[in-house]
C-alpha cells in the first residue's frame, strides 16, 4: 500500500513502475466519499434560536426609523381642466400655469428633496426602455449628427436629420417647472423660496423607473437656513407635461431622509409583522416538539 502511494506521489517516476501498480483505487477521502462533513440535523433546538435572534432588534429599530421621516405629497394635476385642456408640444413655452396650495405640518430640515411623482406612467415598457442609443449618448459630437440607433424609431430623425439624443426616453423628458411659495396664515402673503440653494440633480440618463408609479428627484433644497417651517405653501407649476390622456397622475413631493433613506412604512411594518409571525411559529413548533419528545 505504501508503495502504491509513493509511486503516485512520484510523478516523474518511470512508467514501468506504475504499470505494475495494482488497480486498487486511491484511498483518498474524496474518492472514497469520506470527506469530513458537518451533517446538521434539523431539530427544534438548532432551528429555533436562529429564528429568535433575527428578530427583536430589527423589529424595534427598522420600524422606528422608517416611519420617522417626514414627507409631504400633493397632487397638482387635478387643476388642469380649469386652466388648459390641450397638450403642449415639447420645447414650447408653458401654455399654462397652475397653482396649488399645500400645508407642511412639521418643520422639515434640509436637505429637503423635491420630487415629481407620476402614476400610471409606463416608463418600464420594453419599447420605451429600449428606445435610446447608448453609443450615441457616449459618443463624440460628430458621431451624433450622423447616426441614430434603429431602436430610437420613431424619434430617430426628423426628415433626414438625426435627433440627438434620440429615442422615446429623451423625447419624454419631464418638463413641468415648479415653484413653491410660503404663504401667510391667511394664504395671501406668499414668499418665493430662494433659488440659489436649490440644486438641480444630475439626471442619470438610463434610470427609468421600475414601476408605473414612481417618483424622481426634481430638486434638492440644501442650504442650512432653508428649513421649511410648518405652514401653508403654494405650488406654482408651469404645466407642460400631459398625463391626463392616459389616466396618469402627477404629484409634487417634498421629503427628507435619514440613514435609511426616505420614509418607508412598508419596510418597517413588514419587519414588524414578520417578526411577530416568527414568534408565533416558533412557539408552536416548540410545543409540538416538546409533545413529541415526551411521547418518545
Amino acid at each position: 500500500m505504501s508503495d502504491g502511494v509513493r509511486n503516485r506521489n512520484n510523478t516523474g517516476g518511470s512508467g514501468s513502475k506504475s504499470s505494475i501498480r495494482s488497480k486498487k483505487p486511491d484511498n483518498s477521502a474524496f474518492n472514497q466519499q469520506r470527506l469530513l462533513a458537518w451533517q446538521p440535523v434539523l431539530t427544534a433546538k438548532s432551528v429555533l434560536p436562529f429564528t429568535f435572534t433575527t428578530h427583536p432588534p430589527t423589529l424595534a429599530d427598522i420600524t422606528d426609523v422608517s416611519a420617522d421621516e417626514k414627507s409631504c405629497k400633493t397632487i397638482y394635476d387635478e387643476l388642469i381642466d380649469t386652466f388648459s385642456s390641450g397638450t403642449a408640444p415639447n420645447g414650447n413655452p408653458p401654455t399654462c400655469i397652475c397653482k396649488q396650495n399645500f400645508e407642511i405640518e412639521e418643520t422639515m430640515n434640509t436637505p429637503i428633496f423635491a420630487y415629481y411623482r407620476l402614476t400610471n406612467y409606463y416608463q418600464n415598457h420594453r419599447r420605451y426602455v429600449k428606445s435610446r442609443d447608448d453609443t450615441q449618448l457616449l459618443a463624440e459630437k460628430s458621431y451624433i449628427c450622423t447616426e441614430a440607433d434603429g431602436d430610437c424609431s420613431p424619434y430617430d430623425k426628423i426628415g433626414e436629420r438625426p435627433i440627438a439624443p434620440c429615442g422615446a426616453i429623451a423625447n419624454s423628458l419631464f418638463n413641468d417647472t415648479f415653484f413653491i411659495r410660503r404663504c401667510g396664515d391667511a394664504g395671501v402673503q406668499c414668499t418665493a423660496l430662494q433659488p440659489d440653494n436649490i440644486i438641480d440633480p444630475t439626471d442619470a440618463n438610463g434610470f427609468n423607473a421600475a414601476f408605473p408609479t414612481f417618483r424622481k428627484l426634481y430638486r434638492k433644497i440644501q442650504d442650512n437656513g432653508a428649513d421649511l417651517q410648518p405652514g401653508n405653501y403654494e405650488l406654482l407649476t408651469y404645466y407642460n407635461y400631459p398625463v391626463h390622456r392616459f389616466g396618469g397622475g402627477k404629484f409634487f413631493v417634498l421629503a427628507t431622509t435619514s440613514w435609511i433613506g426616505g420614509k418607508n412604512l412598508f419596510l418597517g411594518w413588514t419587519y414588524a409583522i414578520v417578526g411577530g409571525i416568527c414568534l408565533i411559529v416558533m412557539l408552536f413548533l416548540l410545543c409540538i416538539s416538546r409533545r413529541n419528545h415526551n411521547r418518545d
Binding site: N31, Q33, L36, A168, A210, T213, K220, Y271
Partner: protein, 1240 residues
Amino acid sequence: MPENAMSSFLFKLLKGHKGKESTETQRTIYANARCGNKHENFKHAHNKIRTSKYTIISYLPINLYEQFTRLANAYFAILIILQCIPVISSLEPITTIIPLVIVLGITAVKDGLDDLNRHRSDRSVNNRIVEVLDPTNMTEENLLTKEKWMNIRTGDIIKIKQDESVTADVLLLSTSDPHHLAYIETAELDGETNLKVRNAIQATGNLMDPETDPDGLSCYKLAAFDGKILCEPPNNRLDHFVGTLSWRNDSGRQEKRFPLSNDNILLRGTTMRNVDWAFGVVIFAGPDTKLMQNAGKTYFKRTSVDNFLNRLVVYIGGGLIMLAVVSMVGHIIFEMYHGDHFQAFLPWEFIDECERKTNMTQDPCEKGIPELISGSLIFWSYIIVLNTLVPISLYVSVEIIRLGQSYFINWDRQMYSPLKDQCAEARKTTLNEELGQVQYIFSDKTGTLTQNIMQFKMCSISGLVYGNQSEPCDFDTFNPRWYDHEFTFNDNRLLAALSQKHQKEKEFFTLLALNHTVMPEYKDDGNIVYQAQSPDEGALVKAARCFGFVFRSRSPDTITIYDATQDQNIIFELLQILDFDNVRKRMSVIVRKIEPDGTKGKIMLYCKGADMTVMERLRETTDEDLDVIEQTKVHLDEFSAEGLRTLCLAYREIDEEWFDKWNQKFTDAACSIDNREEKLCASYEEIEQQMILLGATAVEDKLQEDVPATIANLGRAGIKLWVLTGDKLETAINIGYSCNLLTDDMLDVFIVDGESSLEVKRELLRNFETLCQKCHPDNDYGLVITGHALGHALEPDVEHDLLKVALKCKAVICCRVTPLQKAKVVQLVKRTQAAVTLAIGDGANDVSMIKEAHIGVGISGEEGTQAVLASDYSIAQFKYLERLLLVHGRWSYFRMCRFLDYFFYKNFAFTLIHFWFAFLCGFSAANVYDQWMITIYNVFFTSFPPLCLGLLDKDVNDKMCILNPSLYRLGQAQKLFNLRIFLYSVLRAVITSLILFFVPMCIFMEATGNEKWGMTDNDSDGMTFGRQAFAFLVATCLVVIVNLQVALDTAYWTLINHFFIWGSILLYFALHFFMYSNGVYALFPWMFPFVGVGRFVIDKPVFWLTLLLTIIIYVIPVLAFRLYKSITKPTDAEKIREQRYKQKRRKQKKPISYISRRGGSQRPGTQRPGSSYAFSHQRGFADLIMSGRMTSKRRRSRSTINHLARAGLSLPSSPKQTTVTFQEPQESDANHIRGERLVE
C-alpha cells in the same frame, strides 16, 4: 418512430453504407472465387466490423444532429432563431447562445472521446491477421498469404490454427484431425466453457492429408476446390444452420450435393482448440456473422428519470405557452385601454400604415388591429423572456453528475476485489440513479452466484460420515504421486480406513474411478488433467484420484486405474455403460476386473445416481442393508441441509451367465428400430436391481463469496431476484436453496415443467389458485420453471398467467433457458411492469439479457469478456452488487432527485419574476434582470452548488445504507422525484418568485436614497431607485435565496459545499460590481448598460435591509415547515440519523443489530429438495466412448504413449475403425467433449 428512421437514414448517408436491403432469401457462395467472375460473392458484406459511430467527417454533423434531436437542445436552437428577429427579440440572442454552446460543447467532447475508444477496439480487431488461400497471390512454395481480417470475403478459404479465434463464420473443409474433427470453445459466444466438436464432411476432409502433411502446408487440392455452397441467409441462430455443398469432386465427374448442418460450421467468436489447424470457407463475414447478428442493436438506454424529465420538459413547454398566451391577452388589453392613450410618449410601431391610409379622417382605422399585431408578437417575445423555465443546463448538469457518480463507483475501494485485482467499473455513465430504483434482478447462476467449482466435501460410506472433522487429510504420505495439491478433505479416518483396506471404502472409490465419462489428458510433466463434461463429475473423479484410485486411461472396452493402496495398475474390462438420462437420473457401468495374470474377475455393476432413483433399486434383504440405507438417508438429509449436491452410490455383483443373457437382450434392444428407447430402458431396469448401497457423496457447488447474505439483503431492500440458468432443474433448485433464494419458510415452491403450452397454462393457473387461496403477505412462494415450459409460457396468451404467478413469488428460478429466453423474460417484465430491471451475468450467454434489461451488470470473470463488454456496469463479484445498489445506487438516486428538485425550483423562481413583472410593465415583455444576469445565472451563479449537491450529498452513510436495506425502497417507489414533488417545487418557486418580486417592489416603489455618512459627495442622496437598481436588488435576493435553498437542501456539508455555496454568492457580487463599474462600461458601453448601479446601491441600507427581509420571509417558513415535517412525519433516513445523533450524544454505543453476514442458512431437513444428480451432461456419451470415436488414434499423442509405456501400462488393443456417425443428441448443441484421447 420517424425520428429513428430519420436518424438511421442519416447514418447510412454519412457512413456511406451500401443501400443493400437484407432481403436475401438464400445465399450462394462460390469457394475460392477471389479472381473469378462469380460476382455473387461480392454482394456479401466484407469481414470488416464497425461499432463506432462517427468518422472524422461525420463526427460534427452526426453529433450535432443527435444533440439537436434532444428536445431541450432543439428548443433552445429555435429560441436563438426567435431571438434574432428584432421585433420580438426581448432578449439578446447571446443570452441563449453562450449557455447553449457551453452545453453542446461539453457533450460533444464527451461523445467524441467515447467514440475514439470504439474506433481503437474496432481497428485492433479488423487488423488481426489470418492466413488465406488466395489464388491470385500464391506461389509454388507458399500457397497461403497473410491477410487482415477485414479483407476477408465470403468464399475465401482460410486456415485457422489452434487457439486462434475464428475469423468469420466458416464451413469446415478439412482439419489436422484424421477424422476431420475440430474442437471449439464457445465461451465468447454462448458462455459455455465446454468444448464442442465440429466435423468436416468426409469428401472435403480428404482434400488434406494430415498424416503426410502435419503442418497443413500442401493445400493444392484445397486451392482447386471450387464448390458452390447454397445456404440460409445471415441470421442470429447460433445452433442452427442449413445448407448444401455442390461440388464435382475427384472421384466422380458428376456434381454431387452434400447436406450441411451446424456441425460443419465454425462461428466467429469461437476459439479453436485441440487441432493444429483447420481449413474452412467463409460463408458469413463481418456484420453477417452470427456473432454480430446476435450482438443486436445496442439500444440507447434511458433511465426512468430521463423519461420523466422529457415529459416534464414537455409539460413545462405547455406551461410556457400558457403563460405567453396570458401575457398576450394582457398585452392586447393593455394596449387597447392604456397604450393607445400613451402614444404621446410611446407611439405604436405598427400604426404607420393604418394612420397613413385613413389619414386622420373621420373613418378611423379599424380598432384593434395594431393591438392584435403587437399582441401576437408579444406572444413570441414572452416565449423568449420566459424561456429559462426550461433549464438549459439541465441535461449537461445531469450528465456531469452522472459522470461524477460513475467515478465514485470506479474509485470505491470496497468494491475492489484484491483477488482479481479489479474494481467496479461504470461502463455507461448515464444510468446511475436507476441503480437506486431496481426492483427485479435477473441473475445468471454459473460464474455469477456460483464459482463453477465443485468440491468433494463429504461422503457417507456404509453408514459412516466422513469429512466432518477439522484436521485436513495428509495426502502427502498417503498418495504422493497422484494427489492434487488443491484438494483438501477434512477427515484422516478415511485415509486410515483405506490404508487398512476396508472393503466398502475401497469399493466406494473404485466406483468413483470407474463410473463416469471423463477423459484423461496427460500434461508434459506426466500429470493427468481430467476433462470432464460437468464439473461435478470431475470433482468426483478427482476425489477418487486423491484417495488413491487414480483413473489413468480408457479405451472403448477398458478402463485402467491405479490403486495407490496396492501400488499397482488395475485394468477393468468395460462391458457396458448404462448412460445417464434425465428420466433415469442415474448412470451405471458394468465392468470386470482383469487380474495381472489375465484371469478375469467378477462382473460388477457400479451405479451412481440421484437418491430417489437409487434407493428404489436397493437390496433390502439383510439387516445390514437396511441399517446402511437408514443411516445414509440421515446423512443425505444432513448433506443437502448444508446445500451440498448429493449422489448415491451402489454396486452389484452379476452372475456371468445372467449377464450374457442380459447383454444379448440389451444388444437386441440397442439395434431395434422401433421403440428403441423404451426397450433400452426396460433392459436397464432389469439389471439395475438388487444393488447394495455403498454410500453417498456430497459435492459442494462453491458459491461466490457472500452470495446468500447479499441475496438476503437485497431481498430485504424489496428487490426480487430471478435466477435464469442454463442448468438442470435439480441443480437450479439446489442452488436456489444454498444461496438463500428458496427458503424453507416458503409455503410452496411451484415447479412448472409442462411440455405444451396448454399444459403450462394449466399448471400456472393451478399455482395461481394456490397462491390466491393462501394469499397473505407473510406467505412466500417460489417458482421454478424449466426452459421448455418457459418457451410456452412466453407465448402471448400464456405470458399473462406466467406473470401473475411469478410476480407473486418471492423467488423465481428459470432453468435450462437459452440466451434468447433470458432476454425474453427480462423483456416481459420490462414491458409489463413499470419497474426497473437489472440483469447480471458473466458469460456471453448473458449478453442478450444484459442488453435487454434497464441495467446490465457484467461480472468480470474468467468466462470471456463478452458480458462485461455489453454491460453497463462491471463488478468483480456478485457480492459487490449489494454495495453497487444499496449504497451507490441509492446515493445516486437520492442525489439526482435532490438535484432535479432543486434545479427546477431555481429556474422557476428565476423566470416567474418576469411574469409578475409583466403585470406592471403593460405585458411588454420587458425583462426584470440585466441580460448578463440572464446569460450566466444558470452557468455560474447557481450551477456549482447544485452540482455539489448532486455529487456529494448523502442523507445517511454507506454503512447505514447496507444495514437498513429498507432505505432502498424509496427509490423503487420513486418517492424522491415524481410529479407531486415537481409540482410542489413549482409551487415553492411560485411563492419564492412572488416574495422576490413583490417585497422589493413595495419597498422600492417609494424608497429614496439616504444621506451619506461623512461624505461630502452626496450625489445620490434623496435619489429614488430606478429600474436597474430594482433589477439588481431582485437578482441579488434571488441568487442569495436560491443558494441558501441549496444550503438548506444539503445534508452533508463538506468543505467543497461551503466553498461553492458561499463562493457562488461572492462571485455574484464580485462579478456584478465589476460589470457595473465605469471602466467596463467605457470599454463596451452597449454591453453593460447597468453602469453605476452597483456603486449606487452599495451604500443604501434600504437595499441591504430589503435583501435581509426577503431572505427572512423566505427562509423562516421553509425552515419551520421542514422542522414541522421532521417532527411529525420523519423519513426513514431522518429517523436513522436521529438515532445515531442520540447515540453519539449519549456516548454509549448500542450494538446495532447486525445482519448475519454468514451465508448458507441451516435449514431443517423437512423439506429438502431431494438429492440431485446434477450432471449437466446429456446422454449419448456412453455411445461415443464405446464406439471408440472419442478414443481414436491421434498423431499428436505420441508423448502420451510414451508416458503410459513408461508407467508400464499394457495398452488395450486398437479398436476397430468405426463408421458410427457422430450423432448429436436431439435436445441441444451440447456435445461437450473435452477431447484429449487415448491412443492405441
